[in-house]
């Protein structure tokens, strides 16, 4: 197969994938929603006069009105501004953590699956050790060690999330490397590196894309969980999780829903839309799926 034709085949695969994805209505809708949301949290602070930090004296726990679109929290900060700034933190933590996990996990899984033997043993035992840890509990201890901040939350979630990528890559690689086309590549003298990165990895990627999207969603959830316990992103920095934290008091829960319901709703909408995108991706990348 000459070079040009090879490229055509590759292009048609991706074009096909995009076409299939676009036909997935829920996934497309989610993608639009997420794009709008990311644009909003990035651009709104530049366009509007938003102040998430000033405590407006005399305006504690105010219900939504003309001045405060979503009311104020218990120390008089504007809830709408905090929602926007909190979105920046929560979404950023989600993407950075997932990326960190993927960058650590995928190469390790590839090595373990391809080489087997002592390399596989070492890497997979490491995975076992990490997976034996209830991540939440280690995260709690680690955040306390590193000092609570958005950066340490990202690090902690990312560093503990790589096992999923490693295991998935590993399980995919051990089946892909037995395929005829890899054997053919090996027979025609492809180096180990070339076999791994040109033949095995591209053919193992589909589930990893899906894993990545779920990983982002899960990281956002983990951040909100930690912050909800009061052990994640520390106040005064806003995150959706620490905004919901206020509802641990029963009176806020019942009488001041504007403090926690919007943060919860937007959190849910974000996580759901990322999951839907992952689902759409999975279907679009699956060559067996015909739409």
């Amino acid at each position: 197969m000459d070079r040009k034709r090879k490229e055509n085949v590759r292009n048609s695969f991706w074009r096909n994938t995009v076409q299939k994805f676009m036909k997935h209505r829920v996934a497309m809708f989610s993608l639009v929603f997420l794009t709008v949301e990311i644009l909003a949290v990035v651009l709104l602070p530049l366009l509007m006069d938003l102040d998430p930090y000033t405590t407006n004296v005399g305006c504690f726990s105010m219900a939504p009105d003309d001045r405060f679109l979503l009311g104020t929290d218990d120390v008089g900060r504007d809830v709408f501004s905090r929602l926007v700034y909190g979105g920046r933190v929560s979404i950023l933590v989600g993407f950075v953590s997932a990326l960190l996990s993927a960058v650590i996990g995928i190469p390790l899984g590839l090595l373990a699956g391809y080489y087997g033997g002592i390399i596989r043993m070492t890497i997979m035992r490491l995975v076992d050790i990490f997976m034996s840890f209830p991540a939440m509990i280690i995260q709690l201890v680690l955040v306390t060690v590193l000092g609570a901040s958005a950066t340490s939350v990202m690090l902690v979630i990312g560093l503990l999330g790589w096992t999923g990528f490693a295991r998935l890559t590993y399980s995919k690689v051990i089946s892909v490397k037995e395929q005829e086309y890899v054997e053919a590549a090996r027979a025609s003298g492809a180096t180990n590196f070339r076999q791994m990165f040109q033949y095995i990895l591209p053919n193992s990627l589909a589930p990893l894309f899906v894993q990545f999207s779920f990983s982002v969603a899960s990281a956002i959830l983990q951040e909100s969980g930690l912050s909800f316990l009061g052990l994640g992103v520390p106040v005064p920095t806003a995150s959706w999780g620490n905004m919901i934290y206020s509802a641990q008091s029963l009176s806020t829960l019942v009488y001041r829903p504007w403090m926690w319901v919007p943060a919860g709703m937007i959190l849910v909408a974000t996580v759901l839309s990322i999951n839907f995108i992952g689902d759409g991706l999975r279907d679009a990348l699956d060559p067996k799926m015909k739409i």
Partner: protein
């Protein structure tokens, strides 16, 4: 099978040591000394020094680790800095509630997950399929604590069907109906948070398996659909589901932390959060060791089940 078991158990030894070292190092990196919390205004520097010595904090780290490990093997996890009583005791009274909560949640989640997953896969685009994906999206997308707050608002505050939290209405009469009432909301919520993954995994691996050659072959041979479904498809589709369940157990423990905290359930999760606030290292280490050991044992059981399901694994 015997060889597989032996090998699998031997592998647990380095994992155990790696784990304990990690836990020990981690909790010693925590800023702030536990002694800080015990210093009172009328103490002299000598008193404080004596406090350090009494707690063994003056010795080098590796000696502290070995001593801790030695005591661990004797079944003693040291004394809580917060209450001054034995850690095993402090944890002991929390194990039961956590096991009750996580066990109930896991059973509910697996039952609902596998059932809905299979039905969704066999009857794609049916009402069941949509219901399963709906529930799995709620489970995967709505954070437990948010759903918990909504549940508390609806069922405890507005409708007043269930209590807002705790384990007993009255701790002295340990009435099991009362415990069940308190258990219902947290267990269902924790279950919902787990079941999404099981539904997804069961559904997608069922769908994948149904397209395999051996399923087509079984159908082509004229086998009844039920036999094809249960003895060919489901048996093979359960492999990734078993992995998923094993992999999700640490998340169950993590989810229990949040759930227990929201509902004031007197388990190990709320103990953990409390201990972190007090920098109560022995208890932090104890809870972590306990939970990781439990997870290791569950993983071992899952691997055995996996080997029973898939003969290829045994070799």
């Amino acid at each position: 099978m015997k060889k597989f078991l032996l090998k699998r158990i031997l592998i647990m030894i380095p994992v155990f040591f790696g784990m304990t070292i990690l836990i020990f190092v981690l909790s010693n990196l925590t800023p702030g000394s536990p002694v800080d919390a015990m210093i009172t205004a009328d103490m002299t520097p000598a008193d404080i020094e004596a406090l350090y010595v009494r707690m063994g904090l003056d010795q080098p780290l590796h000696i502290q680790y070995l001593k801790w490990l030695g005591r661990l093997f004797q079944g003693s996890l040291g004394y809580s800095f917060r209450t001054g009583t034995a850690v095993t005791g402090v944890i002991g009274e929390r194990v039961g509630p956590t096991l009750l909560l996580t066990g109930t949640a896991l059973v509910l989640a697996i039952a609902a997950g596998v059932l809905l997953g299979v039905v969704a896969a066999c009857k794609p685009y049916s009402i069941w399929d949509y219901m399963a994906s709906g529930l799995s999206f709620i489970g995967a997308g709505v954070p437990t604590f948010f759903l918990a707050l909504v549940f508390i608002y609806c069922f405890a505050v507005k409708l007043q069907w269930l209590p807002t939290g705790g384990m007993y209405a009255n701790a002295s009469t340990k009435d099991w109906m009362d415990v069940a009432k308190h258990l219902l909301m947290p267990a269902v919520l924790l279950g919902i948070s787990m079941t999404g993954g099981y539904i997804r995994q069961t559904r997608s691996s069922m769908l994948e398996v149904m397209g395999e050659e051996y399923v087509k072959m079984a159908r082509a041979k004229g086998m009844r659909e039920k036999v094809v479904l249960y003895s060919h498809a489901l048996r093979n589709a359960m492999l990734p589901v078993a992995t998923q369940i094993g992999m999700s157990v640490p998340f169950l423990v993590g989810g229990a932390v949040v759930t227990e905290q929201v509902f004031g359930w007197p388990g190990m999760g709320s103990l953990m959060v409390l201990s972190i606030t007090y920098r109560d290292y022995p208890v932090i280490m104890g809870v972590t060791v306990y939970t990781t050991c439990a997870v290791m044992v569950v993983n071992l059981l899952m691997d055995i089940i996996y080997a029973l399901l898939d003969p290829r694994v045994r070799n």
